[in-house]
Subunit: 194 residues, 2 copies
DNA sequence: TTCTCAACTTACTTACAGGTAAGTATAAGG
DNA sequence: CCTTATACTTACCTGTAAGTAAGTTGAGAA
């Protein structure tokens, strides 16, 4: 069998690009920002990712992996709705604390029309999955009388996701001050009192 | 007295840059994007705005003027809280319909660390003004029994602004579908039934 | 009439972005 | 030992971004 050379260059490129992407957005970093601190040349990146779109695609995949890993505990269907919601808050707070207030959707949003169809589709279906998950959490919370809210669970889920999206953007500009305010208000709007 | 030459070049630059900024963000347009369709040279822009930061500053001011103009009707203190809130929704929807789902704060957010202190400050105080205004609307609505919500008015205001911020970002990526959902949910969470 | 100044244009520069083609070192396979 | 593939580097290219310095034009002031 062909033994792969002990190169982690490809992975390191993804790691660094991923960080940069979530800190500065799609057009906020260049190949140089990746290659120079790695001690390789720009062309080395082109070797692994012939063009930037290929790199972006890899970053979307990476995002899915990371998200799946770090959200699997609280996203597991069957857990208490409240626990799942708090998991989302903790995850969001953690991302902001790690200097990543911008999420992938936010990073792609501003340059959205430059993206090619495949990426848009992946991004879109990721969004839909999130809505689906949180909708289920809302339904569950209502059934189990953990949450008390009016309106349909899907609208509620979308509004909470929007709030978190907006909160992260605010965090970028105004620091983390408003974040807890927003989480608190979401709890209150869900009739969570304790 | 020195009569000013009948030049509106400066204003046209601001107009065009403003449009571009709100469509593509800070780093999403170049001098060329402005000068070429105007039929002037890049250097003409440098004449009026020696560097890009000067232009951005002018755009922030323009944003304040535009916002003050287009929000003055519904933002007037003293009006019914519900009317003021609906004004905000209509304004947001209108912006999205005009192909400007990104607001100024959103446009600046992604490149935030590139900005100089003066701009950050202006942006910050704009945000604070918005929070202040909406907080007052929330207080008013509660006093006049137009709104029925728990939690303090300021948190409520911040959460609504975050929601709208997030909604605009979603609108960019997913179209306007979710917008009405979100507005509806805000109404419901404020105890508005009719 | 001449002077001056605002509002440009012309003609650059520097820097950097993304990308490519051709060459090279290394290691494993046959 | 020779071949082949991988994982690069070297040395380019094109395009574009922001910015600058010096020259031009036209209108009003002195």
């Amino acid at each position: 069998m062909t033994v792969k050379a002990a190169t982690n260059t490809r992975e390191e490129i993804i790691d660094r690009a991923f960080q940069l992407m979530l800190q500065r957005g799609l057009n906020g970093f260049s190949y140089r920002d990746i290659s120079e601190p790695m001690g390789v040349k720009n062309a080395a990146i082109h070797y692994h990712f012939p063009n930037k779109m290929d790199l972006i695609k890899a970053l979307i995949d990476e995002n899915h992996r990371v998200l799946r890993r770090s959200t699997s505990e609280f996203m597991a269907y069957g857990g208490a709705a409240r626990v799942q919601l708090e998991g989302l808050f903790a995850f969001t707070l953690n991302q902001c604390n790690c200097g990543r207030p911008i999420c992938m959707v936010g990073a792609l949003a501003i340059d959205y029309d430059e993206l090619d169809e495949e990426i848009k589709k992946a991004n879109n279906s990721f969004m839909k999955d999130s809505v689906k998950w949180l909708t289920r959490v809302m339904e569950l919370g209502r059934e189990q009388k953990e949450f008390d809210f009016n309106g349909d669970p899907m609208s509620k889920a979308v509004s909470i996701l929007a709030m978190i999206q907006g909160a992260r953007q605010m965090a970028r500009v105004h620091g983390l001050d408003y974040l807890e305010n927003i989480f608190a208000q979401i709890r209150i709007d869900l009739g969570i009192t304790e």
